[in-house]
């Protein structure tokens, strides 16, 4: 089973839910946790340990100076500005390239071939006996987050239970993370900001047809608006985590509440059962 943890708004507690769920499940079975927030991965902070790196590359154009006649077709075609054709030279901006391969297709001279360029890495570790952590890391200044996410997901492929921690927002990286998952946990907080972005995230998940439910984090017990929204949309509330100084203290030192506070391992085990129910099949 593949479960994505997403939110729309940043800072609602996606990684907290993902890390605690993974840690809890690893007590009874093999779990792979994939950090798909490749621009700022941080699950390794909950699970320190030595990791093995796999480089992530993406194809970018290379110009054969013997064939190029500076006709400019590649530069006109590229909507990302990755090539600028001047009178006597082609300037490449590989960090702007989205690896569509169009430049090599439109080149009338056959002067462009694609060569791999490293844009990030995937760090694999086994921080707990039954837990594998796969963290995608996009290098600074790079834009191709989905490519790193794809490789991270590929490295986790084949395991029976995979959790994906998505990035905030609802753009390409989140869509890439949601690709092929069986269920999505939407983590929100009971603020106007949390609800606003939950609405956006719920729309995205709905359009993908992925079964979803909601975790309300830092609840002050007055979640009426969020509850009403979830009722309207048919989104089950999978779990409510109260606003608590005790929880914040564990979280702030990089701890896991399922390990450090009594009762939470059971509650995260219940969260998993609730997700299984949302999917409607046995895990």
């Amino acid at each position: 089973m593949k479960i994505a943890i997403a939110s729309g708004k940043g800072g609602t507690g996606k990684s907290t839910v993902a890390a605690n769920l993974a840690c809890t499940l690893s007590r009874s079975r093999e779990v792979v946790l994939v950090d798909c927030d490749v621009e700022e991965p941080n699950l390794h902070l909950f699970f320190p340990g030595s990791a093995e790196d796999v480089p992530v590359t993406t194809p970018v154009p290379e110009i054969d100076p013997a064939r190029c006649n500076f006709c400019g077709e590649c530069g006109k075609f590229c909507r990302f500005g990755a090539l600028s054709v001047l009178k006597d030279r082609v300037i490449l901006f590989p960090e702007l390239c989205h690896s569509c391969g169009g430049c090599s297709l439109v080149c009338p001279q056959g002067a462009i071939k694609e060569v791999p360029r490293t844009i990030g890495r995937v760090a694999c570790s086994c921080p707990l006996p039954s837990l594998t952590l796969v963290s995608g890391v996009l290098n600074e200044g790079e834009v191709m987050a989905p490519t790193v996410i794809r490789v991270a997901k590929l490295l986790a492929e084949g395991h029976p239970l995979i959790l994906y921690d998505a990035s905030p927002g609802i753009a390409c990286p989140v869509i890439e993370t949601l690709e092929g998952v069986d269920a999505c946990i939407l983590v929100t907080e009971s603020t106007p900001f949390g609800l606003h972005d939950l609405r956006l995230a719920a729309e995205v998940v709905e359009s993908t047809g992925i079964p979803a439910g909601v975790v309300i984090n830092r609840s002050d017990g007055r979640d009426e608006e969020t509850l009403e929204f979830c009722r309207e949309r048919g989104l089950p509330i999978l779990m409510t985590i109260p606003f608590s100084r005790e929880i914040a203290a564990v979280q702030n030192r990089g701890g896991l509440i399922c390990r450090d506070l009594p009762g939470w391992e059971e509650r995260f085990a219940d969260l998993f059962e609730a997700v299984v129910k949302v999917v409607g099949v046995s895990p």
Partner: protein
């Protein structure tokens, strides 16, 4: 020599646009003949990467000098490597005014590196 000037509209009476790659128009003036050609910039609403593409358009029109408000990092690199000099015009005047300031030697080179 051909001077390319970023502008808000067509023609030499149009006000100068401070943005380089997202200027609505590029006005190319041949300083020998005084003839001006205005090009509507197709990159105004592009998602990104407008700098390098705009430089290619200037190069195609034979411009060796650019007058604009400011340029971004990628455009600066392409201009530098293409040997195109960029001058800053921060006034509120027209394309013709900017050109007159340039001809009088009153405009500063934009730092490209």
């Amino acid at each position: 020599m051909i001077v390319g000037i970023t502008a808000r509209a067509a023609g030499t009476d149009a006000p100068v646009e401070q943005r380089f790659g997202r200027a609505p128009y590029f006005v190319f003036v041949d300083t020998e003949t005084g003839k001006a050609e205005s090009i509507e910039n197709p990159l105004v609403d592009a998602a990104g990467g407008v700098g390098p593409r705009a430089v290619q358009m200037f190069s195609e029109h034979g411009a060796t000098v650019v007058i604009t408000g400011q340029v971004g990092g990628n455009a600066a690199r392409a201009l530098e490597m293409g040997g195109i000099k960029a001058y800053a015009y921060r006034g509120s005047g027209s394309v013709a005014d900017a050109l007159a300031e340039y001809t009088a030697g009153n405009l500063q080179l934009l730092p490209l590196a």
